[in-house]
Amino acid sequence: MALRDKPSQFVAWLQAGPMMLVFLVFFLVPLAFVIIVSFWDYNEYEMIPSFTTRGYVETFEGCLAQLPDLCTILKTYLKTLKLCFLVWLITLVIGFTVAYFLAFHIRSKTWQIALSLICTIPFWTSNVIRMIAWIPLLGRNGLVNSGLVKAGVIDKPLEWLLYSEFAVVLALVHLFTFFMVVPIFNSMIRIDKRLIEAAYDAGATGFQTLTNVIIPLAKPGIVIGSIFVITIVMGDFVTIGVMGGQQIAAAGKIIETRLNALQFPAAAANAVILLGITFMIIAMLSRLVDVRKEL
């Protein structure tokens, strides 16, 4: 037994090896560096490799004293979570609907493939372009405003269309809905159609079928899509910066400004905090469904 096991174990390690190596070199090692650097000291122009918790302490400076008022950093994280939640909710609803339509309303395989390919068309242009394209549309003198004014719906341009949370959420939803569609669609097409027929035969209404059959079976897709969207939005600073007119704080933005001021250890500390929070959210999501088992 033992003799026969060893070679197969060796082969298994060999097969997993390349991926492990990539994971180690491009993920674990850099992450370890970030964590180490987050405990370094710094000045205007260099990092000083001595242990200090300055990066963390200064991040939360004055937070205790300000209670019960929230300090800027906590407000920033709350704002990030709020944006993240909104984007997640909207992409989930849209993504689920699109996937549902593709999986259950389109009968032919060819059309399913063709239509899901159409969903990828926006990805042929870069994220930045798709984001910036909203600006002339939403601006004070943009298409939407001038259209509404001319149509007599409003008498002066809406200010909240651009450089606002609305614009941020809109752009993020536009950019990332597809990340929900694909995994959910993927789960849905693998649902045995006979289950739905059985539900129908047993007298379930459409809504009951949806909540009792389809949603539970599409859960892995929903969780995977959610992980995609949440991790991207939590770390985003470009979209939030551009669409928010650089006025809306986000966790990623703090890291960016720290980097710009050459305060690398402080940026690393903030990155570690952000990673921790994102990790907690994902851990909670993974509690809901064992992704590995369902795949």
């Binding site: 122009y45 400076e61 800027t72 650089q246 006025q247 704080a249 703090i254 400004t257 001021a261 050459l262």
Partner: protein, 429 residues
């Protein structure tokens, strides 16, 4: 004999290949100089790190034609310039940066002091840089990181600034300007004369300030002084309490919705103004020119409290030596020799060597841009597009009027770290 030559030739070649591959272009071209016939072919390339402001296509074309030096622009934002110098000093040869950055760059040890003796026009550089005064002798404001405070180093490898002139120069000045607010006169419809207007609730949701902390806070300080709320000892070197006060005033304005957006680069500021999202904002002179050349009225408004000035120049990466260093000197000398200076003057900037720029401009151009006189003929931008019709007068008047009214210079404060944290809180508030 024959065999020997071939052999040694071959091995030298292999060695060269190895050197070129290993040490990159710089070392490679340096090694090749042993062969005269190869040298005539070698490309004179300088990697030029700077912001988009000075990275003119025309300048690089003219430079290539005049000197054979090919300029490869690496265009990044002001913050990224500094970041790159500190973290990747080998990724560029010539650096175009502002004097206020020197307080970070010089201690990092990544830039090379230039030898004033090798700069042909060094003694003709305007006294604004060397003495802090106008050619007429009038003293100008020295709050903040004024260029003459950080122009010289004590020695070749020194990391401390010299109090009096030495031959080791940190940054050869090229271009500078007196900055003020940009406004849209067609949308404001009344005269603007004070920095205080930036935070005037009348322009609620239509103002903007730039999101580069070390410059933005100076604009804020000009506003605070203009509103009479506080008088700083040195706007460019605030105490923690002064930083708190300034940021508090800005934060209150932000919370009440004063700002439409913050901008970080040239094009963002142009877009904000041109699209009418903002009507009053911190702006750079060529950005105003750009908006105006799009056919949209925009004024670089002179204000009674004076200007916030900045200056930038060239220095060289520590990693540059040998031939490459000579090209760098050649490039700097070419830049100061007049054509580029005239080009910059026509954009609304000022050139460091006035005499050579003057020689390269038409008398009517010089009169318009530098002497504050009404334009005798139509004023054209460097690209040939019409800027002003005959009879127009430059915003803010002559060189002496503008540079003479400088109140402070862009700065890096002693409390910079604290200031950046507070600025972060302001942006996040």
């Amino acid at each position: 004999m024959t065999e020997d030559t071939t052999k040694s030739g071959l091995s030298r070649r292999t060695l060269l290949k190895g050197a070129a591959a290993g040490a990159g272009l710089a070392a490679g071209s340096g090694a090749i100089t042993g062969f005269p016939y190869v040298m005539s072919q070698e490309a004179k390339v300088l990697r030029y790190l700077g912001t988009a402001v000075n990275a003119g296509d025309e300048i690089s074309k003219k430079c290539l034609a005049d000197t054979g030096i090919k300029i490869e622009y690496i265009t990044v934002t002001t913050d990224d310039v500094t970041k790159r110098v500190v973290t990747q000093p080998n990724s560029f040869d010539v650096l175009d940066t502002e004097y206020f950055s020197l307080k970070k760059l010089v201690p990092s040890g990544n830039i090379l002091a230039l030898d004033a003796k090798k700069i042909k026009e060094f003694n003709n550089i305007t006294p604004v840089f060397t003495k802090g005064q106008l050619p007429s002798g009038k003293k100008i404001g020295d709050q903040g990181t004024a260029p003459w405070k950080v122009l010289y180093l004590e020695g070749k490898d020194s990391k401390t600034f010299a109090k009096s002139p030495t031959e080791f120069v940190t940054l050869i000045p090229t271009v500078y300007n007196a900055d003020t607010l940009g406004i849209r006169p067609d949308l404001i419809k009344r005269p603007i004369s004070s920095w205080a207007e930036l935070l005037n609730p009348e322009f609620k949701g239509k103002a903007s300030i730039l999101n580069i902390p070390s410059i933005g806070i100076m604009d804020a300080a000009m506003v605070v002084e203009a509103t009479g709320q506080y008088k700083y000892a040195d706007k460019g070197n605030m105490t923690k309490a002064e930083i708190d006060l300034t940021m508090k005033i800005l934060t209150e304005a932000k919370k009440s919705g004063q700002f439409r957006a913050f901008w970080k680069d040239f094009n963002e500021s142009v877009n904000l103004m041109a699209s009418g999202e903002t009507v009053i904002q911190s702006m750079w002179s060529p950005a105003v020119t750009k908006v105006r050349s799009m056919g949209i009225p925009c004024v670089f408004q002179p204000l009674k409290e004076g200007y916030r000035s900045w200056a930038s120049g060239f220095c060289v990466s520590k990693g540059v030596s040998g031939k490459k260093l000579e090209w760098a000197y050649e490039f700097v000398n070419w830049f100061l020799s007049g054509w580029a200076g005239a080009y910059l003057n026509r954009q609304g900037y000022y050139s460091a060597v006035l005499s050579t720029a003057k020689a390269n401009m038409e008398p009517y151009e010089w009169a318009y841009w530098m002497e504050g006189k009404a334009a005798e003929k139509d004023i054209k931008a460097p690209d040939g597009s019409l800027l002003e019709k005959a009879g127009a007068i430059r915003d803010g008047g002559s060189y002496d009027d503008r540079m003479g009214s400088v109140a402070c210079w862009n700065a890096v404060m002693d409390e910079n770290d604290y200031m950046v944290r507070k600025w972060n809180e302001f942006i996040a508030a």
